[in-house]
Amino acid sequence: MPGSWAASIRRGTLVRATVIAALLLVVLLAVPAVTSVYWLKVSTSVAIYSLAALGAGLLYGRVGMVSLCQIALLGVGGWVMLRLGYATSLPFPILLIAAGVITGCIGTLIGLPALRLSGLYLALITLMAAAAITLVFSKHDFPNGGPGFWGAEGIGGTNVQRRPSIAESDTAYFRYTVIAATILFLLALLHVSSKPGRAWAAIRESEPAALAAGVNVTVYKLWAFALASFMTGVAGGLLAGSVGVLANSGFPTSDSLTLLAVTLMGGIYSLWGAVIAGILFKLLPALLQDWGLSSDIATILFGVGVLQVLVTAPAGLAAQVPKDLANLGRLIGRLFRRDVRGQPT
């Protein structure tokens, strides 16, 4: 019956929304309360890199395009944030949006010529772009209040990126970052569940078919690039505020490859996958080092994870874990259930 079906969908969404809201409250309140400032900083990094993974996952999972320049764009976002932060006295949120928009434009520029290329070539050209951007960063240090377009003062620059006045402390900045990330996740969700999402799904399935169906493939592909780059740019801005000083060593090209690995492991078909990716990227190495183990173990795990995902579980941990838990639940249920004749079900 359509009526009850629609009602159950509305109820399902409501339940899910409530769960997410509750989870968010827990993260905002409980995490700062139980962890030290160090883990708080790590958690802030997790939130920031989740955003970068969100962009990458959106592009790959929804539209089928692999971008290997997300970390370079993260650096671009950070660069813009620092430059504008020192040059103007605009409020922090405006700076974030400016960082996002400018990074979005640059990402779209990279995506423009890439439209004509398919799968592998697209991935490789973004990799080339990432290497080129990283080179530019290495020649011109990140802004630190100095003069000129590049804004980098060589000797003894001691300035730090200012934080929003309502979020000066590490705890407050963590909450600020999580809320900003949530807003961007909601933005992604909005896209995915409305017209752009449907257009992307059509493009991913078959581009000729989408074209034939009247979908403006060029515009929607560019839109995806712009959105992913925007989110990565905002993440870069948040990173600048979190750390205060950035350096090109923080955005190596190899990290873009690692980001792809963790995004795949987390799951590209679900927005939760991006959160898992952030946790793998930043929390896992910190935990390993805390336990006295080498963070190289994380690198090896990522490699194994990529192979595992490609071969057996294309939807990543985000889909796999609930499925495994459900299977486990069913197994337990079966063990305890008997039918009328006393036989196991």
Partner: protein, 450 residues
Amino acid sequence: MRSHKRSAALALATCSIVGVLLDALASGAASAPAPVGTGKASKTKSVCGLGNGKRATGRPIVLGGIFTKSPGIDFSPIGLMADAYFKCVNANGGINGRPIRYIIETEQDQPDRVAALPVKLADRDKVVAIVGNTSNTDCIVNQRFYERRGFRVIGAGVAAPCFTTPNFAMVNMGPHYSNTGAAQALVRAGAKSIVDYASNVPGANPYYGSGAITVGKRAGLPTSDNYVDVPIQDANSLVLKMVQQAGNGGGIDIALIPPEGLKVLTAAGAAGVIDRVKWSGATPFNSQFIADALGPEWNNKFLVNAEFNLLDSKGPDNQLYLQLQKAYQANCPACLGSFGQMGFLVGKIVTYTLLAMPVNRITQKSVNAAFLRIKNFKSDLWCKPWYYGNLPSHNANRWDRTVTFVNKKIVQVEGCFEIAAVDAPIVRAKADEKRLKLTSGTSWPPVPGQ
């Protein structure tokens, strides 16, 4: 079929994890240390701390240090040698019975990790002092944190803020001043130009080479300051350009870390251009690793600015340092060189400062306040005594030697000379030393035997 693939992947994952863990545990077992640093201290013999040979078993004193350890740049030998000193102290009575626990944290220049590490050391590990730091970006990124929380860092500096802000006092002089000294040696050797080539790491441009360039300009020579990406991929092309820029009889100062510098030196040898110019390098080249790698065509040709005494000098501290390296860090070849000497010095300064304090009042506040009192602290590894002091910047190590390589041995060419007063911090250091008598009078903390 699916379950086969899944179990195969799972098996692969498990095997690799288990293998890695097993090996990690295996390599973690350290070699048993020989009895070193024990005995009565005198003018010819240095000991570790109290030197009484008794194992310290009290409540540990926790210290921490931050080191850059990334591909191409590894400063952890400094931490490892400081740790070796502390281990020796723990085997010799500790700090009046209390052992030292030294936490070495490494980072790969990632700003968010560099910013998080001092927080971890201060809040989670509750260290009383952060010492030994040798990092490309620590002084830049964490300066505000140290100021806010009252940490006086003693380490080996790299970036500019390590030598221009109040909360850092370094046992070395850093690439900026070391290359200044190298340029001074070039000028004295009759070089007709000063061309500087440094690693393009964060904070390097123009800091690393500016001192050398100033020396060249003051001597009326043509100069050029260059920054190259590391790791170097085209050493052959690079060395040709360097030689062309310097011109015949010119001077090339290499401000690269040894493995990268070695690529350039090897390429110079292969291209046959060694004798066209005069070569010099900063302190990191003062290591046996380089001496072993250079052939006889380099005899007496490479002038290295040495911030510390020769590796085979007979001074008591140097002898103790060599013993410690053999006993505790035999598997660390990079520990045998200026990096290791820096670590040793950090260990010595911190140990004797702690020993001079009441054993039950060692807190973060009291230790960092004690650091400020350090003056006229001597070691045969330095040319002049070291000090901290309540100053806007610290440049205690500003006297150098020049060494060169002859048949795989490191040989002194010039004895202790003052680094040219190329900028304000050095000028200020000279004035402060005189005014506050930081390098004369009673030493604090006292060191037995001296």
